[in-house]
Amino acid sequence: MSMQYNTEHPIPTPPRIWENMGFWEGIKEQQLVFQRCKECGTWIHPPRPTCPKCRSFEKEWAPSTGKGTIHSWVTYRESPHPSFKAPYSVVLVELEEGVRLVSNMVDIKPEEISIGMLVEVVFDDVTEGLTLPKFRKVG
């Protein structure tokens, strides 16, 4: 089971800004990328104008392996927004690079999700103009 949408309601998609543009451009190309500091190599998410370790402003958008584990998760039994059909789960994935990303799972029931589960990224074309990085169970 994957996330179900009420397509007559627009999915909330806050606009892109300079700091996160590269992330969403990557998703359009079916690539999961995160900010990485060019000076010290620190992976950064959510994006920042500076590296919090070395304060460099020089960063690049570097590809993630897309593999990680479930760090935490919740299941909405009642929907807080008309575009999402409850029940649905939201997961916090810890990628191999050490950054964490809020996302959803595909092809799994909420009760089958557990902390520590190995997952990998997939790209979900939820509407014509919106692709979202989601995750599926590995193995």
Binding site: I17, P46, V74, Y76, V90, L92
Partner: protein
């Protein structure tokens, strides 16, 4: 420690009570509460030369000043986030202690039940700050659209790391409702619950039940703060600010600090608490009554751990059965009922209840309560107070 300790006191309190529909504007409730707080203190509007408000409050200082005929302001400013109640008292104390102002009023008025609160997600995107955008871009499209859901993510990890079952959080709500049932000012007067009611309440965002979540309300509070010297000549026995401090750390986010190595704690509370106790010159063992942030029940055991009332991972056991956290227990919690058992005013009612305990006028009075700790802002920027009846 160079500090604000023992320089200022709370000398007046005005409250609107709690309801599902106040039937009036936030501005009107603010003015009613300020008038009541000034009467309580024995002051008049022209005595007031400072205002501290919440950034998100609907009543700005211009309309409040004009409505109340307070023509003499020399100090005004704001606090933000859910930690604002204790932060606003700190701002007020700083104002009077430095002599920038003599009498500062601080307030919060929210029609949180009758008027749906504005969430950043609901705002036109053009009005969202860069900080909000960076958060919401990564949360909203995935349906993480409510504060309860954001908190639930932290709670799940806390449960996982310490082997906690979500049923165990029920004692927090049960005790808050027991205390709230004695409070005619609150929304649950004469409506206590049992642990069974909690266990039967529906899950809204797993692992949180509806009874883990604060009760939306329309309510307002105003407080007056002045120097300890001026406080001596006023109508009420002063409630001294013995400690007041805040905490914000790297990777602190409001209710969604997901991006730091450990997400199962409330490190801002720990950071704030250490400074707070040092400032007041007391320790957790000296505190017999505390008003903690119970906007979501599981945040209470987490605060008990961070503030040093018990060890790491022991907060739930501390609350189990309720005896240690009821009036009469070793640490009476949220004696007005708090956000779960009185109503939600973002913790402003917690400060009021601390004042009442010290004045001996609580509806769930702890015997000889002379020292009360208040904590606001669990799961984000934190702030705290230690208030005392003697210096």
């Amino acid at each position: 420690m160079n500090s604000i300790s023992n320089k200022a006191a709370i000398v007046g309190v005005g409250v609107s009570g709690f309801s599902k529909d106040s039937g009036r504007t936030e501005l009107r409730m603010t003015c009613e509460c300020i008038k009541a707080a000034l009467d309580d203190a024995g002051l008049v509007p022209l005595d007031i030369d400072g205002i501290v408000k919440h950034t998100d409050d609907a009543s700005d200082e211009h309309s409040v000043t004009s409505s109340m005929g307070m023509g003499n302001l020399t100090y005004f400013g704001e606090s933000r986030w859910d930690s604002a109640p204790c932060s606003m008292v700190l701002r007020a104390a700083i104002g009077v202690a430095t002599g920038v102002a003599n009498y500062v009023v601080l307030y919060r008025a929210v029609n949180g039940s009758s008027r749906r609160r504005m969430m950043p997600s609901m705002r036109a995107s053009g009005q969202m700050s860069t900080s909000d955008l960076l958060q919401w871009t990564y949360h909203a499209p995935f349906g993480l659209m409510s504060e309860a859901g954001r908190v639930a993510m932290i709670v799940r990890r806390y449960m996982h790391e310490y082997g906690i079952n979500s049923d165990q959080f029920g004692w927090v709500t049960t005790v808050c409702r027991e205390h709230g049932a004695k409070n005619p000012n609150g929304m649950f007067y004469n409506e206590p619950i049992t642990i069974k009611d909690y266990l039967e309440s529906k899950v809204i965002v797993d692992p949180l039940r509806v009874m883990d979540c604060h009760e939306e309300a329309d309510s307002a509070v105003a407080l007056v703060v002045t120097t300890v010297e001026r406080a001596k000549n006023l109508r009420q026995k002063p409630v001294y600010i013995l400690g007041a401090t805040q905490s914000q750390l790297s990777e602190t986010e409001e209710k969604n600090s997901y991006y730091r190595p450990v997400i199962s704690g409330l490190p801002e509370m720990g950071h704030m608490g250490k400074r707070l106790f040092a400032m007041a010159g007391v320790g957790p063992k000296d505190i017999k009554v505390a008003q903690l942030d119970d906007s979501y029940a599981p945040l209470v055991p987490m605060q008990l751990e961070e503030l040093g009332f018990c060890g790491r991972g022991e907060g739930v056991a501390f609350c189990e059965g309720g005896d240690r956290i009821r009036v009469g227990g070793e640490l009476a919690l949220n004696t007005s009922g708090g956000s779960l058992g009185e109503g939600y005013l973002y913790g402003m009612n917690h400060v009021v209840e601390a004042v009442r305990q010290i004045g001996g006028t609580s509806t769930a009075q702890v015997k000889d309560a002379d020292l009360v700790l208040v904590a606001t802002g669990a799961g984000g920027p934190a702030s705290g107070l230690i208030l005392g009846g003697s210096r």
